[in-house]
């Protein structure tokens, strides 16, 4: 099944509020920041929380607070992807090609039912 990535991605100029909304809806605590298809970084609920503690506003663009060096994988094999995810201990592992273009996300948990 093709995963709908829209709930897992935001653009660099999107707001912290939008990121938090998507994190809330995707239930995986993280969104990937994507520009022209390429992964720029990630934003977790913890990143947003810390940003608010630093007096950032809901309208602050995510590019100001995103993690710049997220773990990603270029693995195509599902088992190896899974292994990479477990190794990095993240809830969402972006799957990219050689040019850092986002292809998919590997998820640590199945989403909880609403």
């Amino acid at each position: 099944m093709e995963r709908d990535l829209s709930l897992f991605t935001v653009g660099p100029t999107d707001s912290l509020r939008l990121a938090m909304e998507k994190i809330d809806r995707n239930k995986h605590r993280v969104v990937v920041v994507v520009d022209e298809g390429r992964v720029l970084g990630t934003v977790s609920d913890g990143d947003v929380r810390r940003a608010y503690l630093h007096e950032q506003l809901p309208i602050t663009p995510v590019s100001q607070i995103m993690q710049l060096n997220p773990h990603v994988t270029t693995e195509t094999d599902p088992e190896r992807r899974r292994a990479a995810l477990l190794r990095e201990r993240v809830t969402v592992l972006p799957v990219v090609d050689e040019d850092n273009v986002l292809l998919d996300v590997e998820l640590a948990y199945e989403p909880f039912a609403d």
Partner: protein, 380 residues
Amino acid sequence: MRHIAILTEARSSYGYLRPIARLIEADPELQYSLIVTNQHLLPDFGYSVEEIERDGLNITDRIYMTLDGYTPATMVKSLGVLLLSLGDAFVRLQPDFVLVLGDRGDSLMAALAGAHMNIPVAHIQAGERSGNIDGLTRHAITRFAHVHFASGPDAAERLRRMGEDEWRIQLVGAPQLDELVRGDVAPPEEIAERFELDLTEPLLLVVQHPVTEEYGEGVEQMRETLEAVCELRHQTVLIFPNTDAGSDDLRLLVERYHRPFMRLERNVPRRVYGGLMQAASALVGNSSSGLIEAPALNLPAINVGERQRDRARAPNVIDVPHNRSAIADAIRRALSAEFRAGLANGDSPYVSDGRVSERIVEFLKTVPIDARLLRKQIAY
């Protein structure tokens, strides 16, 4: 008790003000107030005020000044905000001395405010040459400063020729080298772990800022450097540019060029930056650290473009234009064993014996604050 107000606007300068603040703290006859502004207070630049807080220094003022937009006009307005705020801060703090450093507009604002309010101004890194608006700013600070700390004989001579009184010129050395000379930097193991690096392989450190006079060209200039880095594919740590005009576009470009062999950092503590310089195989870009600090570590520096045009340099510097193949060739040359072997210890116009900060503090403590100090005449 003599009270010294210290201005810091960015990571790069904070690192060598810290030892000075510590020495003041340890002296019962001195006290200081740290005024924190500009980049330190911006999340885009890693919010480096937190490093100062962790160090436990006495921050008395946080002056938010940086207007969004990062154009030449916003730079000017931002400096205006700082100048306005410093007037109030100095009224409240009533310092006996204002201590500034380098060649940035922020320091010029503090020198202007101090001189107008009859507070003597002391300037670290006075008299050096640097290109562009920075060079003009440095010598403008000299006009308003009452004490000039020179990092080498060349800088001291320039101050003399500018007509500054001999007794105001203190040849103390370069304080930014104190910590390097004393080895107070993050060890290689810490650097390897923090940035996930393999230090048996070549490591490039990239720091490239926009140049005010070349506003609008910064993105293409950065693209040339990034293309060279991407061609070579060595592991690379890239640190984001400062807040000067054009820096926001540069940051977006860098983010788009992000590849798995690169680490991007908004900001790193001075101690870690020293460790990175020590661990790196070459420094690429237009940071002054390639000319001032790198020679002390025998680190080759590929100096790109005109930003450091007039600054004195050691044999570790390879000057190149903004051209990807020239940059790539220079990096290859810098990584060669022959080049590295040719870098002799201590061969640099910037000197330190690890005690520069002590000399600065001693002078601030003992120079009489009187009419002679405050009434400047340009002798030449």
